[in-house]
C-alpha cells in the first residue's frame, strides 16, 4: 500500500520535472513548418478562387451578346449547316429534346414560322440536345419539321452557348452577332416579331 503511494508520488514528480523542460522542435521540422504555412495559404487561396469561379459560372446565364459561337451541325437527314457560312441571313438556333414537354409546346409554332420566312433570308437550325436518335426522328416526324435538325454531338454546341436547359432559342443577326435568347417555349407572336426586327437591321 505504501509502495503504491510512494510510486504514485514519484511518478507525479517526474511528470512535473518533464513538463518544465520544454522540448523545442529540431531546426529541420521548424523550417518545414514555415514552408508548410506558405503552401497552406496558397492552397486556400486557390480553393477560394475555384469557389469564386464556380459562383460566377452558376450565376451566368446563357450567352446573349457578342458573336454567336460558330458550329457545324450534321442533320438527321444528312444536310449540313455551318453558322459562319450563313452571314447575311437571320439565323434562329433552337435547342430542344424529344423528352422535353415544353419543347413540344413550341414545336408547331417554330415550324409554322419557318415556313413563313424561309424565302426571306431566314434560316432555322434545330439542335437536338442529349437525345436518342430514335426518339428524335419520331419527334421530327410528329411535328413535320422541315428545317435542319441535328444532334449536338458531345454537347459541344450547347456548351458553347452555355444553355441551362431546353428549350432555349438564340437569335443571330445577319452579321453573325447574338441578339438575345429566349428561355422557355416561344409563344406567338414572339418569334415573328423578333425575326421582323432582325430582318430590318441594316449595316453601314
Amino acid at each position: 500500500m505504501n509502495l503504491l503511494r510512494i510510486s504514485l508520488r514519484n511518478n507525479f514528480m517526474i511528470e512535473q520535472l518533464e513538463s518544465i523542460a520544454q522540448p523545442i522542435g529540431t531546426p529541420k521540422v521548424r523550417r518545414l513548418g514555415q514552408d508548410g504555412q506558405v503552401i497552406a495559404f496558397a492552397l486556400v487561396i486557390l480553393l477560394l478562387g475555384l469557389l469564386a469561379f464556380g459562383l460566377v459560372k452558376a450565376n451566368t446565364g446563357p450567352r446573349e451578346k457578342g458573336m454567336a459561337p460558330d458550329f457545324t451541325i450534321t442533320g438527321f437527314d444528312g444536310r449540313t449547316a455551318k453558322l459562319s457560312e450563313l452571314h447575311g441571313q437571320v439565323v434562329i438556333v433552337n435547342f430542344w429534346a424529344s423528352w422535353c414537354p415544353p419543347c413540344r409546346d413550341e414545336a408547331a409554332y417554330l415550324e409554322q414560322t419557318w415556313r413563313k420566312y424561309q424565302d426571306q433570308g431566314v434560316v432555322f437550325i434545330g439542335v437536338d440536345w442529349v437525345d436518342t436518335n430514335k426518339e428524335a426522328l419520331a419527334y421530327i416526324k410528329e411535328f413535320d419539321i422541315t428545317y435542319i435538325n441535328g444532334p449536338d454531338t458531345g454537347t459541344r454546341i450547347a456548351d458553347a452557348y452555355r444553355i441551362k436547359g431546353v428549350p432555349e432559342t438564340f437569335f443571330v443577326a445577319k452579321n453573325g452577332e447574338l441578339r438575345g435568347v429566349k428561355i422557355g417555349p416561344l409563344q406567338s407572336p414572339e418569334l415573328d416579331e423578333k425575326i421582323e426586327e432582325l430582318l430590318q437591321e441594316v449595316y453601314p
Binding site: 511518478n11 513538463s19 504555412q37 497552406a40 475555384l50 459560372k57 456548351d159
Partner: protein, 687 residues
C-alpha cells in the same frame, strides 16, 4: 401583423448580434469587463428573439397565411399539420432562419454555463460565435427573408416578393400554396435537417473557444478543450444522427435501393464529420498527454470550415446535386464570409504556431500517441480524398473545359482501403500503452480475438466462397468486433473477481465507473455494425429487373416475387397512386405481401416511388414498381434489390448514440483527479 412582429424580432436580433461582436472584441482588447458583460447580455437575448420569429413563422405556415411568399412557396392546403411545421426548414429562407436560431441557442447555453469558468476566453468566444450568428441572421434579414410578402404590381407579368411594397403595388394572396416537394413529405423531414443543422452549428462552440485560445495565447493549457469537450460530443452525435437519418430517408424515398450515393451534398456533410471524429479523439490525447496541440487546433478549424463549406455549396448551387436548394442571391456574400473565416483562422493559427509545444515525448513508434497521430492522418487522408473528388469536376471544368462526373467507383476505391486501415487501428489502439507498447504483450492481449476472427472468417469464407473479395473485410470486421467485446469481457471478469458482482451488475458498474472508455467502446461497436452494413452493400448486394404479367414471377437471391395485380386510387393530399400487389416467396413459402407503388403529385407534376420492403436483421428485400401497362397489356416492371446486412447500419447508429450518452455522463468523481490520471499513465511496480 404577426409577420411584421417576426420580422422586427429578426432585425433586432441582428443588431444585437452585431453589437455583441464588436462590444466583446473591444472589451477583450481593452480588458474592460463592463463591455464584455454588455456583449454577453446582448448575445443571450438573441436566442429568445429568434425564437419569437421562429414560432411566428411556424404559426404562419400552420395557418396557411399565403400572403407571405415563403408560406405560399412551401406550404399548401393538402399538407398535414405535421408537414406544415416541418416546412419551416423546407425552403431556403426558413432553413437559414432555423440555422441561425439553433446557433444562437448553443451560444446562449455556453454563455450561461461557462461564464464564470472561462473568464479570460469569454470575450473572444462571444466575438467569434456572435460574428457567425450575425452573418447568418444578416442573410435572413437582407437576402433570404422568410417574412417577405407577395405583391402584385399592376401590369407586371410576375409577382414581386419583397418586405416593403413597391410603388402602387397591392398585396396578393394566392388561393393555395405550392407545397413541399413531395420527396420531402416523409418522416425523415422531421429528423434529418434539424439534427444535421444542430451538428453543423454545434461545432461553432469549440471553434470559438479555439480561436479565443489562440487570440489570448492560452494555447498551451487545455482549458479550451476541457471547456468544450461535451460540446464537441453533442455536435458530433447530432451530425452522426443527421448523416444516418439522411441515409435512411434516401433509402426510403429515392428508390435506388441504397443509402449513400457519394453525392456532393452528402460528401459536404461527411467531411466535417470525418475531421470532427478525428478531433474528438485527438483532444483526448491533449488532455492526457499535452500533445497534438497543433493538430487539435487545425482539426477544429477544419471541421468548422468544412461545415461552412458544406452549407455554402448546398445553398449556392455551384455544384449540381439532387439535394441542392433552389439558387438564391446569397452566393457572393457567403463567399466573402467563408474567405474571411478561412484566411483569418489560418493567419491567427500561424501567428501562434510557435507557442504550441508538445509537452511529452514517446519512446517508441508503437505507442498510443503514435496511434492517435496515425488516426489523425488517416482521417485527414480520407477527408482529402472525398474533398478532392467533390471539387474535381469544378477544377476540370475550369482548366479543361470538360465536365466530368466523379462517382461512387472513385470514392469507394480510394477511401475503402483507408477506412479499412482506420478500423484496424480502432481495434488495436486501446491496447496500446502510452509511450511504448511491447509487441509481445500486445499479441497476448489480442490473441483471443485474432484466433476467433480467423475461425469465423474461415467458416464465413466457406459459406460465401462465391465472394472471395469479401473475406478480408469480414475478417477485419470480426477481429475488431471481437477485440472490443474481449475488452468488455475482461473488465466484467475483473469486477466479478474482485467484487463478486454478477455479470450484469459488473457491466453496469463498468459503464458507470469508466464511462468514457466503455462508452467509447460501445460507440466503436456501433461503428463496426455500420461497417458490416457497408460490407453487405459492397460485396453481397443482388438485384434484378424484369417485366411480368399477372401471376408471373421474378427470381433473385433465393427469393421469388409473384405479381398479383395493380390498382390505382387517389390519395388525400393531391396524389394519384398506382399500387402493385406482390407476394414474396422463399422457395414455396409465402413470406410477405409487398405493395410497392408509384405516387404522382398532380399539382407539382412530381412522381415519387415508394418501395415495398421486407426487412430482417440479415437482409432487406426491396421491391420497386418501375413501370406498368406496357403495350396496353396488364403487366408490370419491377426492380428487386436484395440488400444483405443493411439493417446493421441503423442498429449500429443506435449503438453509437447510446455509447455517446454513456461517454457524456457526468463523472461522479471530480474530473482529472491526478491519482487516477497518474495510474493510467504508468503502471504500478509489483504488478
Amino acid at each position: 401583423m404577426l409577420a411584421d412582429i417576426g420580422l422586427f424580432a429578426v432585425v433586432i436580433a441582428f443588431l444585437l448580434a452585431v453589437y455583441a461582436t464588436f462590444a466583446s472584441f473591444y472589451g477583450g482588447r481593452k480588458e474592460c469587463p463592463a463591455w464584455v458583460e454588455s456583449a454577453r447580455n446582448a448575445a443571450i437575448l438573441v436566442f429568445p428573439l429568434l425564437t419569437i420569429s421562429v414560432v411566428i413563422l411556424v404559426y404562419l405556415l400552420y395557418t396557411l397565411d399565403f400572403s407571405i411568399a415563403y408560406v405560399a412557396d412551401v406550404s399548401s392546403q393538402a399538407m398535414s399539420p405535421f408537414l406544415r411545421v416541418t416546412a419551416l426548414w423546407g425552403g431556403q429562407q426558413g432553413s437559414v432562419l432555423f440555422w441561425a436560431w439553433m446557433m444562437s441557442g448553443f451560444v446562449m447555453v455556453v454563455l450561461l454555463r461557462n461564464w464564470q469558468r472561462n473568464r479570460e476566453l469569454m470575450p473572444y468566444v462571444i466575438a467569434v460565435s456572435m460574428l457567425t450568428t450575425a452573418f447568418f441572421i444578416g442573410l435572413v434579414v437582407f437576402i433570404t427573408n422568410p417574412f417577405a410578402r407577395l405583391w402584385l404590381v399592376p401590369g407586371a407579368q410576375e409577382l414581386t416578393i419583397a418586405i416593403f411594397p413597391p410603388a402602387s403595388a397591392m398585396p396578393y394572396v394566392p388561393k393555395d400554396g405550392g407545397g413541399l416537394n413531395p420527396l420531402l413529405r416523409h418522416f425523415g423531414m422531421i429528423g434529418h435537417p434539424p439534427t444535421t443543422y444542430l451538428g453543423f452549428t454545434g461545432f461553432v462552440i469549440p471553434f470559438a473557444f479555439a480561436i479565443a485560445a489562440l487570440i489570448t495565447r492560452k494555447v498551451n493549457d487545455d482549458e479550451w478543450i476541457r471547456a468544450t469537450r461535451r460540446w464537441t460530443l453533442v455536435a458530433w452525435i447530432f451530425l452522426t444522427i443527421g448523416l444516418v437519418l439522411g441515409g435512411r430517408w434516401a433509402y426510403d424515398v429515392l428508390g435506388w435501393g441504397g443509402f449513400w450515393g457519394w453525392d456532393p451534398v452528402e460528401n459536404a456533410m461527411l467531411m466535417p464529420w470525418l475531421t470532427g471524429t478525428a478531433f474528438l479523439h485527438s483532444v483526448m490525447m491533449a488532455e492526457k498527454r499535452g500533445m497534438l496541440k497543433k493538430w487539435n487546433i487545425v482539426l477544429i478549424i477544419l471541421t468548422y470550415s468544412l461545415s461552412l463549406f458544406g452549407t455554402f455549396i448546398t445553398r449556392t448551387g455551384i455544384i449540381g446535386s439532387v439535394h441542392a436548394f433552389a439558387k438564391s442571391a446569397m452566393g457572393p456574400v457567403f463567399f466573402l464570409f467563408i474567405g474571411i473565416t478561412f484566411l483569418g483562422s489560418m493567419s491567427l493559427l500561424f501567428s501562434r504556431w510557435h507557442l504550441l509545444k508538445s509537452e511529452h515525448e514517446v519512446e517508441s513508434f508503437a505507442s498510443r500517441e503514435a496511434a492517435f497521430l496515425l488516426q489523425n492522418m488517416l482521417f485527414l487522408a480520407i477527408t482529402f480524398a472525398v474533398f478532392w473528388g467533390t471539387v474535381f469536376p469544378m477544377i476540370s471544368e475550369l482548366i479543361n473545359g470538360t465536365k466530368i462526373t466523379v462517382g461512387p467507383p472513385y470514392f469507394k476505391m480510394v477511401t475503402g482501403p483507408l477506412f479499412g486501415a482506420l478500423v484496424l487501428l480502432m481495434s488495436l489502439a486501446p491496447f496500446f500503452a502510452w509511450r511504448k507498447q511491447g509487441v509481445r504483450s500486445l499479441m497476448r492481449a489480442l490473441l483471443v480475438p485474432l484466433i476467433g476472427s480467423i475461425i469465423i472468417s474461415i467458416i464465413w469464407g466457406y459459406l460465401h466462397r462465391m465472394h472471395p473479395n469479401s473475406i478480408f473485410a469480414l475478417w477485419l470486421a470480426s477481429f475488431v468486433t471481437m477485440a472490443i467485446l474481449y475488452e468488455f469481457w475482461r473488465g466484467i471478469r475483473a469486477r466479478m473477481a474482485t467484487r463478486s458482482e454478477n455479470p450484469l451488475l459488473a457491466l453496469v458498474n463498468l459503464l458507470r465507473r469508466n464511462h468514457r472508455r466503455y462508452g467509447g467502446y460501445i460507440i466503436h461497436l456501433g461503428v463496426m455494425m455500420v461497417a458490416l452494413g457497408f460490407i453487405g452493400e459492397a460485396y453481397f448486394k443482388q438485384e434484378t429487373q424484369g417485366t411480368v404479367g399477372v401471376g408471373e414471377s421474378l427470381a433473385v437471391g433465393g427469393y421469388t416475387l409473384r405479381f398479383d395485380g395493380l390498382r390505382d386510387y387517389s390519395g388525400s393530399d393531391g396524389r394519384e397512386i398506382i399500387e402493385a400487389s406482390t407476394s414474396l416467396f422463399k422457395g414455396d413459402q409465402l413470406i410477405r405481401v409487398l405493395q410497392p407503388r408509384r405516387d404522382y403529385f398532380i399539382v407539382q407534376e412530381q412522381p415519387s416511388t415508394i418501395p415495398g420492403v421486407y426487412s430482417t436483421p440479415g437482409k432487406d428485400v426491396y421491391v420497386l414498381l418501375v413501370g406498368w401497362g406496357e403495350n396496353g397489356i396488364n403487366n408490370a416492371t419491377f426492380k428487386i434489390y436484395v440488400n444483405p446486412l443493411i439493417n446493421w447500419v441503423w442498429i449500429g447508429a443506435l449503438f453509437m448514440v447510446f455509447g455517446t450518452l454513456i461517454a457524456a455522463l457526468p463523472s461522479g468523481r471530480q474530473e482529472g483527479s491526478y491519482a487516477l490520471k497518474a495510474v493510467e499513465l504508468q503502471p504500478v511496480p509489483g504488478d
